[in-house]
């Protein structure tokens, strides 16, 4: 296979993916291809099926349809192969025992069966938590805990990074640091898929936006194109204005009135 063929081949392919919880279909007919190097942000109102879709991709929830990774159906991958290929950060991830931060990050090496000290250290440095290494993880602030869990995710060194609301409990400085970090991971050739509620951050850092409503993809476009045609207004039932930051960047502002 030529280099071009490998690069252009989708890293992740979803074909008519449907996920039901009980009798209720949460994700319906999702079809999309994702390539290495993309930073995809999934947007949508609460209950749109964003987290459910991420769980199906991570192999945590059963689904109908087809999910392929590097051309191989997910069903053909065993749990160990899948866990090395996909790193998953759940929404509001908890830590149940006061285990030292370093040990939590080292859990990211579990799929590889090692405790590679250099990788763990690098992940902690990237997330600015080296000074917390010996702290019990349950005694951290919400923001620190999020960064610890993110470092655990990075320590997997997976080709596909899936993060469900990774900046939900962070202050603005750490929000931007985490978004930069995810962008960097995509630039290194990984596929990053994140669910975000902050449309401004999504617009600024993502390379592709996927809008989900009632379990279906209603838009799949670049951040620039998604501003057109009032798509976001329709998605969230709000009016959005595009504001210029004065440094050549655009920002989205939601109006108070509906």
């Amino acid at each position: 296979m030529t280099h071009e063929a490998i690069v252009s081949r989708p890293l992740l392919r979803l074909n008519d993916v449907r996920v039901a919880l009980g009798r209720r279909e949460i994700v319906a007919d999702v079809t999309a291809d994702f390539r290495a190097g993309e930073f995809v942000v999934i947007l949508g109102p609460n209950g749109a099926g964003k987290s459910t879709l991420l769980k199906a991709i991570a192999g945590i929830l059963g689904f109908r349809g087809k999910i392929e990774m590097l051309g191989r159906p997910m069903a053909d991958l065993n749990a160990a192969e899948r866990s090395r290929l996909i790193g998953y950060l759940p929404q509001n991830g908890g830590i149940h025992w006061p285990i030292p931060v370093h040990d939590i990050v080292t859990l990211g090496r579990m799929p590889h069966g090692d405790a590679d000290a250099a990788i763990v250290e690098q992940a902690m440095t990237s997330c600015d938590i080296r000074h917390l290494a010996s702290q019990p993880a349950t005694e951290l602030s919400g923001g620190e805990r999020t960064r610890v869990l993110l470092a655990r995710l990075l320590a997997v060194r997976a080709s596909i990074i899936i993060a469900d609301e990774p900046v939900s409990s962070l202050d603005p400085a750490h929000e931007i640091a985490v978004m930069r970090l995810l962008r960097q991971e995509a630039d290194r050739g990984r596929l990053v898929i994140a669910v975000l509620h902050d449309i401004g951050l999504a617009h600024r850092f993502a390379s592709r936006l996927l809008a989900l409503k009632q379990g279906r993809i209603v838009a799949d476009a670049s951040p620039k194109d998604i501003l057109q045609g009032g798509l976001l207004d329709e998605l969230f039932g709000l009016k959005f204005d595009v504001a210029s930051t004065g440094r050549g960047q655009q920002s989205l502002v939601a109006r108070h009135e509906f």
Partner: protein, 345 residues
């Protein structure tokens, strides 16, 4: 890795080794005490002689009375500690122990039914078999009720229901017991004891306890991953449903075997993991072996204590573990509040 971080991990690993070696050494000392102390005290010389001679007073006391009792206290205490640590790791809950799944209670129903029917004297192997059968039935019922994919809360609720039902059945059997002797026998058995147990009891319980312990010791990595919740553990390659099934079956089998020969002994499964957790950096995997050794040490010491306390008849070991365990557990709980501040979603 920074030198400090690397050395911290190294120190922690070596701390755990030192802890386990220390516990094993204390257990050896307690074991020696256990074979020496009793109604007929033996000196170290007598014990040594007894080990190599199966005849004579010291040989009979060692092989027929003290040694089976020692093996049972180590095996049962060890399994209670280990299973407590495993269940706390599985459920990410510091209050979990075998009773949460109803295993000891259902084992007790089987055993009490045999005592009620009065066949335990004539056919003494019936009692342990009934207890193991009862515990196995509880794991089958638990799985039948909640299914493989159910979350921890459903397991706990179903386990509590099974435990309550079993408690009610035991009470029913006691209230229907034909004569006061049968009732007394049942009540005394329920209090827990390893007095007057023979090598036959050891051979009946030990294979189940050893196999169940080996299974639980192999599951430590899964419990460690569950620290981050079911979803993250699954994304790290852990089959959470299988981990639950393996744990519940192993705990039921081991617990059934323990209850079969000793009756119900409380608090060790709860206390042993709490005692070791600060020394293993709260790691659910590292806590397993250390909790097992601590449980073995606790029950062996409790068994020594019941022989040393002067009384007309020997005090039941289950009573001692509960009497000492409950206040001590409250002390540990109140002095280490950080454990009860877990950050769940």
């Amino acid at each position: 890795m920074t030198i400090q971080a690397a050395s911290a991990v190294h120190v922690r690993t070596s701390h755990v080794r030192v802890l386990n070696l220390g516990l094993a050494s204390l257990l050896l000392i307690a074991a020696l005490g256990s074979v020496m102390v009793g109604a007929a005290p033996l000196s170290i010389h007598d014990v040594w002689e007894g080990v190599w001679r199966h005849s004579g007073v010291s040989g009979i006391i060692f092989w027929d009375i003290r040694f089976p009792r020692l093996i049972l206290s180590v095996a049962i205490g060890g399994f209670l500690g280990l299973s407590g640590a495993a269940l706390q790791g599985l459920l990410q809950n510091p209050l979990a122990e075998a009773a949460v799944f109803g295993a000891p209670q259902t084992a007790a129903v089987g055993a009490v039914a045999v005592l009620y029917l009065g066949v335990s004297d004539a056919l003494s192997f019936w009692l342990p078999l009934a207890a193991i059968g009862g515990a196995l039935l509880s794991s089958v019922a638990l799985y039948g009720l909640v299914g493989r994919q159910a979350g921890s809360t459903r397991f706990i609720l179903a386990g509590l229901a099974l435990g309550s039902l079993s408690g009610a059945l035991v009470a029913l059997i006691i209230s229907l017991s034909p004569n006061p002797f049968a009732m007394t026998e049942i009540l005394f058995w329920l209090m827990g004891s390893i007095e007057d147990r023979s090598m036959r009891h050891v051979l009946l319980a030990l294979p189940f306890v050893v196999v169940a312990s080996l299974v639980l010791l192999r599951l430590g990595g899964g419990y460690r991953a569950l620290t981050l919740g079911d979803d993250t553990a699954a994304s790290l390659g852990v089959d959470v449903g299988r981990l639950r099934l393996s744990t519940i079956v192993a705990v039921s089998v081991g617990c059934g075997a323990c209850v079969a020969v000793s009756g119900t002994i409380g608090f060790i499964g709860l206390m042993a993991p709490h005692l070791v957790r600060p020394f293993v950096a709260n790691d659910p995997k590292r806590a397993l072996l250390s909790s097992g050794l601590t449980g073995a040490l606790m029950l062996t010491c409790a068994d020594l204590l019941v022989r040393l306390i002067p009384s007309t008849s020997e005090i039941r070991i289950g009573v001692v573990t509960a009497l000492l365990g409950a206040p001590f557990f409250l002390y540990v709980m109140l002095s280490d509040r950080s454990l009860y501040r877990s950050e769940g979603p």
